[in-house]
């Protein structure tokens, strides 16, 4: 998830207005957030509880959706606190202003930002708490604090020792120090050393509670019959048959459709099947992805709004010794997290309680409050484990949360609103469909000297259209490309289209398509000028040692340039996203038209890896996520209707398709970046480049087809 460079207006939920943000100018926003009332005092109590039994509970304000914040964020606290690692317990924080994202200014998880944006705050929390414990011991022992040290959950002075649990009550009465000194990285004992995930024991025994697992007294289950076409409205409905289904309690209309409220999932589903709804389909009933893509192919023939410009690209193209052109196409994609969307709501005594796996507590709280007509602080959010997020559990309408609140409000029930897989695949909020067109001019030596790049697609934005703005997510990875900096004349423009298909950030956002276009086209230039793809990239990236090191590390580990067994091809890609640089080398074969990816060597520089094995896991997972899109992923729309519905026609990678990986985590000590998303962008171009190396066929449209 990334929030783009403009404030956006979440107007769909009834005029709600939010000032918002973006990652790239993030440093500024941190300053703004602080100025806007973020607490000046280190919020020790908000993030840390030390029990008299010596347990140390870290409250995390980012949602655990598989990316490992449940382990990595506590590691940061434990390091400075000098806590014993085995004493650490973890809880999701409630929704409250103190837990606002350091960059976005609102409680949220996304943009591969959790670790690096919380790094300083959580170190200070740990360090401040350690100083408070030492100060409490100093008082008790009547010795100078400077003579006391803390180690492994114990405070020590000479022969005297006290565990943190015995000092916690006294320490809690002391004010946190304003600016506690932080450890020198060379003294780190926890940060930078791989730690096993703290959520594993619950997740391998069935004890872990996801949103879908919530149990409450009197809890009912609801299922909503939603619009068959985006934006369609209920004209009328007949509920008689549905109400006759055993276990169905109520049928109520909500803004998104008609909800069947029942004793359990099965009854709700049967009831929904028996429902008859007449829809006013509206203007989106003619949406057709074949037509959309055809329109975009025409659009990219003309320049759009300027996103990046240097030199005179027309003159440079005209004077080039050789010209190349390519068009790349990308479909809509559903996130398809394994846990279908759901949220549980209880409205009682002027309060709204929500249980859900969500990435956007800050907004959910505001929107729920608006629906209920209560103050945001009367909305309590219990965050449970997310059965995958990938961006889908953060929409600016809070779609699945707000709908569940509407269902609870309309039915008067304590109710869990559940989506089926079909609801999920057909429910919109897709990675937008995009078309890229690139023209390059090469000089006599084959070096690119001109680059004209035009993209067309829907902006990931909310509220009213902004006709004269470039959607940053559409051009991230192109407009700021390291290659283009080396190419004297370039022009990047974007067409922002307006369509009724809801679109959203999808693991790695714009980089899902921009990395493919850039890394494929650089490969095409290498082929056209008969140069080795690694050599050409080296030349284009000279002067960027950090990126070169990542590229060369992956290439070297993969044995780039060595002879491959017959029938195997090798390709590479390198891309920066979310502040991290990732290079991947893929080894592929093709058998009866089917691409098989055998091995991927991946190098990442994310500055500092707090939990290196967690970064490895995110690279492995990011590769598989990107490979699912490369090989299979596409949502098609005909007559306004989404054609795919479940994992039979919206296929994802299964175990036999999954490559073996070798991941190298480079600790450069440079500015920290993210890990959740940057592993996804390079895999599709690395595979396409490998297929080209093997077969001579250039794949320019996703998902890949060798027909």
């Amino acid at each position: 998830m990334s929030l783009s460079r403009r404030d956006f207006l979440g107007a769909t939920a009834g005029g709600l207005v939010l000032g918002f943000v973006l990652p790239r100018s993030g440093r500024l926003l941190v300053a703004e957030a602080v100025a806007a009332g973020a607490p000046a005092e280190i919020p020790v109590n908000a993030f840390l509880r030390i029990g008299t039994d010596d347990t140390v509970t870290v409250l995390i304000n980012h949602s655990e959706m598989g990316q490992g914040v449940w382990t990595g964020l506590p590691m940061i606290v434990a390091e400075e606190l000098e806590a014993s690692w085995s004493s650490i317990r973890v809880e999701h924080a409630p929704a409250a202003p103190v837990y606002a994202h350091m960059l976005f200014g609102i409680q949220a998880t996304g943009g591969s930002t959790s670790t690096w944006t919380e790094f300083d705050r959580l170190r200070k929390v740990g360090a401040a708490a350690r100083m408070m414990l030492i100060a409490a011991a100093a008082k008790r022992w009547k010795v100078p604090a400077a003579e006391i040290r803390a180690e492994n959950g114990v405070v020590i002075h000479g022969d005297q020792k006290l565990s943190y649990g015995k000092l916690a009550a006294d320490a809690a009465k002391l004010p946190p120090p304003a600016d506690p000194p932080l450890k020198d990285p060379k003294d780190w004992k926890i940060i930078g050393k791989s730690h096993k995930r703290l959520d594993t024991p619950d997740k391998i025994t069935g004890r872990a509670r996801f949103g879908v697992d919530v149990k409450l007294p009197g809890l009912l289950t609801a299922m909503v019959e939603r619009a068959p076409v985006f934006g369609a409205k209920v004209k009328s409905f007949k509920a008689d048959a549905a109400k006759k289904v055993a276990g169905v309690r109520k049928v109520v209309q909500v803004p998104s459709g008609v909800a069947v409220v029942a004793e359990n999932f099965w009854a709700a589903q049967k009831g929904r099947e028996a429902l008859e709804v007449d829809w006013e389909l509206g203007e989106n009933a003619t949406l057709d992805t074949d037509k959309i893509i055809a329109d975009y192919r025409e659009l990219v023939k003309k320049p759009g709004l300027e996103a990046a410009k240097q030199g005179d690209v027309d003159a440079a193209l005209a004077g080039a010794a050789k010209k190349l052109e390519a068009v790349y196409e990308f479909p809509y994609l559903a996130h398809a997290p394994m846990e279908p969307l759901n949220a549980t709501v209880r409205l009682e005594r002027g309060q709204c309680e929500i249980w859900a796996g969500t990435q956007f507590q800050g907004l959910d709280q505001k929107i729920a409050a608006k629906i209920c007509g209560i103050a945001p602080e009367k909305v309590q959010i219990h965050t449970l484990f997310l059965g995958g997020g990938f961006g889908r559990r953060a929409t600016v309408t809070s779609d699945f949360i707000s709908e569940a609140v509407e269902v609870a409000k309309a039915s008067g029930a304590v109710v869990k609103t559940m989506w089926t897989r079909e609801d999920d695949i057909r429910g919109g909020y897709y990675r937008p469909l995009f078309v890229h067109r690139i023209e390059a001019g090469l000089d006599a030596s084959g070096k690119p000297v001109a680059w004209r790049h035009t993209v067309a697609g829907q902006p990931i934005q909310f509220g009213p259209p902004r006709p004269n703005t470039v959607d940053e997510a559409a051009v991230e990875g192109v407009a700021d490309s390291a290659y283009l900096k080396q190419i004297g004349a370039h022009l990047v423009t974007a067409h922002s289209t307006t369509l009724g298909v809801p679109v959203l950030w999808w693991r790695s956002v714009g980089n899902t398509h921009t990395a493919f276009a850039m890394e494929s086209f650089v490969d095409e230039i290498a082929a056209a000028s008969r140069r080795d793809p690694l050599e050409l990239r080296r030349e284009l990236l000279k002067g960027d040692p950090r990126r070169l090191k990542v590229l060369e590390t992956a290439a070297e580990k993969a044995g780039w340039g060595q002879k491959l067994p017959a029938g195997m091809g090798r390709g590479l890609a390198v891309h920066e996203s979310f502040g991290s640089i990732v290079a991947q080398v893929a080894d592929v074969s093709v058998d009866q038209g089917k691409i098989r990816v055998h091995k991927v060597v991946c190098a990442i520089d994310c500055g500092t890896a707090v939990n290196p094995d967690g970064v490895v896991a995110q690279m492995q997972g990011g590769i598989v996520y990107g490979l699912s899109a490369a090989l299979y992923g596409a949502v098609h729309i005909k007559n306004g209707r989404v054609q795919e519905s479940n994992f039979d026609d919206y296929r994802i990678v299964r175990m036999p398709d999954a490559p073996k990986t070798e991941v190298i985590v480079i600790s450069s000590g440079e500015k920290m970046g993210g890990a959740g998303e940057p592993g996804t962008p390079p895999i599709a171009p690395a595979v396409a480049n490998a297929v080209f190396a093997l077969t001579g066929k250039r794949l320019r449209s996703l998902p890949f087809s060798l027909d």
């Binding site: 959520d199 594993t200 391998i204 025994t205 394994m338 997020g389 492995q620 996520y625 175990m655």
Partner: protein
């Protein structure tokens, strides 16, 4: 009807065509088996019936009567089943939602085939989806679990 779940006799009141998954989750309250697709396409709901891995989302509860139903909650009392130990050792999980199904599927595999080959692991596990992409670690953990079950350390 009477069901034997994790070694306990349970009396449940549910329609015969209600999928076992929803009897387990909504009637009995065992939420370890998960809902992912409702069509036997993803394996999140995998449980054992008399030791065999089945997709409980498409198994009518009537078919489970008279059989021993085993869910992730009953696989071991303390997370010590070889699969669970292997999963912990290799830090397999990410979001964790598919993992109860993966583990139940793997447990049935190694019970039937104590030394599965790589190809047998792929073939047996290909019906279990993981959107986080933990396949490589799952694969290694199944092989490791087979070793642990065979008494190797």
């Amino acid at each position: 009807m009477k069901l034997n779940v994790n070694g306990e006799e349970r009396s449940v009141n549910a329609p015969e065509d209600m999928p076992l998954l929803w009897v387990l989750r909504d009637v009995i309250g065992l939420t370890g088996a998960k809902f992912g697709c409702g069509m036997s396409l993803c394996g999140c709901c995998t449980v054992h019936l008399d030791g065999e891995a089945v997709r409980s989302c498409t198994t009518p509860v009537s078919k489970a009567v008279g059989k021993k139903i085993l869910t992730i909650e009953g696989l071991s009392a303390d997370g010590s089943h070889p699969c669970q130990r292997a999963w912990a050792e290799l830090d397999v999980v990410q979001c964790g939602y598919c993992q109860p199904g993966q583990i139940m599927n793997a447990a049935a595999l190694i019970a039937a085939k104590p030394n599965p080959t790589d190809a047998e692991i792929d073939a047996a596990m290909k019906g279990n989806l993981c959107r986080c992409g933990t396949y490589e670690r799952i694969h290694a953990a199944v092989a490791r679990a087979a070793q642990l079950a065979g008494g190797k350390t």
